[in-house]
Symmetry: C2
Subunit: 354 residues, 2 copies
């Protein structure tokens, strides 16, 4: 047997250990490159199917005559309570927004709680109360749930999973595959408030003006775009990894390029200042009430008008465009005029942001 053959056999029988890949790191949950590797190396090979392979925020499924969207997210944000919200409303808005990004009106939510022994009952009551209000605001009904308790020291207060079902209200297939060269890239508002709000509590920082989370339900502006007849190609909420990761994901899935004008990306003065102090780039910071929409350039101005008429998307802006090449790359034209590649982070700026 030739050496080459033998080494192939060995590889098959006993893959060599991969040191950088052998244990879960915090960055595997961060929305960056490591999370995508985990998806590509562990999850997709096991569960490969059309719905999962579409790499969307949720799956779109045909059931009877209806097209349903189905999505899931677990929430492990730290701390549980932060300026403008808590893990409860975040768990509602995050999941209804994934449905909205599928073009689906959110209808039903499930809630699975993993509680740590010793959690004050009052914290649970506050979180559940916020979920109730958030569900009301988002127009969804929480219809089924589950509670598990883990030993003290084996959890962290409250983890919540919410899964959601919605009915797709657009006739066209939304998603990275529908993005076209020439499409305008629109974002629904100013970036970075959620991440900065969380970090300010963690670090005990105070800014001139308080920074509160942007967490909010996003079906209303999505529905407004549909009603106005905007031919939406793709929607993506700008959560873990922020705008930069979302654009990179779509550019790489679709094999297209994105060009973004930094000066057109709205960031509030206080968030900009906070990011400078904290060494963060607001383009990578997580948002929980902001999304990007890809629409034909000819409809971009109308889309902006429609979004600006609603308070949740009053600061909507056209920030760039889709081009054919270089394939899979996002290019940022900076405020001072230079251009650079806006890459995907390998890990994350802020662990446990949602």
């Amino acid at each position: 047997m030739a050496d080459d053959d033998r080494s192939n056999l060995l590889n098959l029988a006993c893959p060599l250990p991969q040191p950088s890949d052998d244990r879960i790191q915090l960055a595997h949950g961060g929305g960056g490159r490591l999370m995508h590797q985990l998806l590509e190396r562990v999850f997709l090979p096991a569960f490969s199917n059309a719905a999962l392979n579409a790499r969307h925020d949720g799956a779109v499924l045909r059931v009877g005559e209806s097209r349903l969207a189905f999505t899931t997210d677990s929430y492990v944000v730290r701390p549980l309570f932060f300026p403008g919200g808590n893990i409860g409303d975040l768990a509602v808005y995050g999941t209804v927004n994934d449905l909205a990004m599928c073009g689906a009106r959110p209808l039903y939510l499930s809630a699975g709680f993993i509680l740590e022994e010793g959690l004050p009952m009052e914290s649970l009551r506050r979180v559940v109360g916020s979920m109730r209000s958030a569900a009301g605001r988002a127009g969804v009904t929480l219809v089924t749930g589950d509670t598990k308790v883990v030993d003290k020291g084996k959890g962290d207060g409250i983890f919540i999973n919410t899964s959601g079902i919605g009915v797709v209200e657009t006739g066209t297939e939304l998603g990275p595959a529908a993005v076209e060269p020439g499409d305008a890239i629109i974002i629904s508002g100013d970036l970075g408030a959620h991440g900065v709000a969380i970090l300010s509590v963690r670090e005990g920082l105070e800014f001139e003006a308080p920074v509160v989370t942007d967490a909010a339900p996003l079906w209303e502006p999505v529905e407004a775009l549909f009603r106005a007849g905007i031919e939406v190609h793709c929607l993506r909420d700008l959560t873990r990894g922020g705008l930069a990761s979302a654009l990179n994901e779509i550019a790489s899935t679709r094999g297209l390029s994105m060009r973004v004008e930094e000066a057109r990306v709205p960031v509030s003065e206080v968030v900009q200042g906070a990011c400078e102090i904290l060494g963060l780039d607001p383009l990578y910071v997580a948002n929980e009430g902001r999304f990007a929409a890809f629409v034909p350039a000819a409809q971009a101005e109308q889309a902006i008008e429609v979004l600006r008429a609603l308070s949740v998307s009053a600061l909507a802006a056209r920030i760039g465009e889709v081009t054919s090449d270089p394939e899979g790359i996002v290019i940022l034209r900076s405020r001072i005029g230079g251009s650079r590649v806006l890459d995907m982070l390998s890990g994350e700026q802020l662990p446990r942001i949602c």
Copy 2:
């Protein structure tokens, strides 16, 4: 102002602390009385709606022309790997079984992972591989997922939430409300193997014969009952809290009584022996591949025949009947002939069994 009035005002403004109720205990997750109190005092008041109030294993929802079942469960079983299974296949079977108990053919699953930093990648691969096999065996497709990572010491290896969607295939409404006096109580097989399998690993016990989990998908026997024309009134899987808790829940929701013959409840010799050593009552031990069916007495023998023809329910047995009174009580006629109330446990026998 009279003293009574003042104390009422105080109660409204600032409820007195309730010492037994002010922190989450392990038993709040155990399927017993404390879990029901949590449901009744915290969750139901916040989210009251018809689907949730039905107190079923999942919600049945009308979407377009279809009746969908929707359910969620988080899995925190300890250890992750145990005789006959692991947290991955458990997370698939547990949720498809909740759909089956709604009379629904399981179609789609979501999976939300909460991973602890430092988890060996190989453990994750094994768990994901088991989920894949289990999904194949259960005939469901995993269509959407999410991964979060928490700091070392803030989780416990792997927690998994699965939510499921199925299509209800029975014309009648299954559930506690449909249970009638005179109904036969059938269980689909022998009890206690899952709980004993878990505990034997935790305690490092070895029995004459190995006890492996009974975890298995249950749509096949449910579908067989429907196809045979059995008028099924209610189905309930016998998970946390075991047979005793399931019967108590239904008896109390429906305001009926249940009478069970202990001698008719199948328990394997090795499980019976293990329970005696461990001080457990198999009627309270969790199962992950067993259910109770409530059917008209006239169809009980036929139902048993249908179930016994399938390997997963080969040991099906008629164990008792539903009567009108005493309301909300389960009465056990013991092997030696006496009768006693089979109560709901306040906490649980085994924490983190699923």
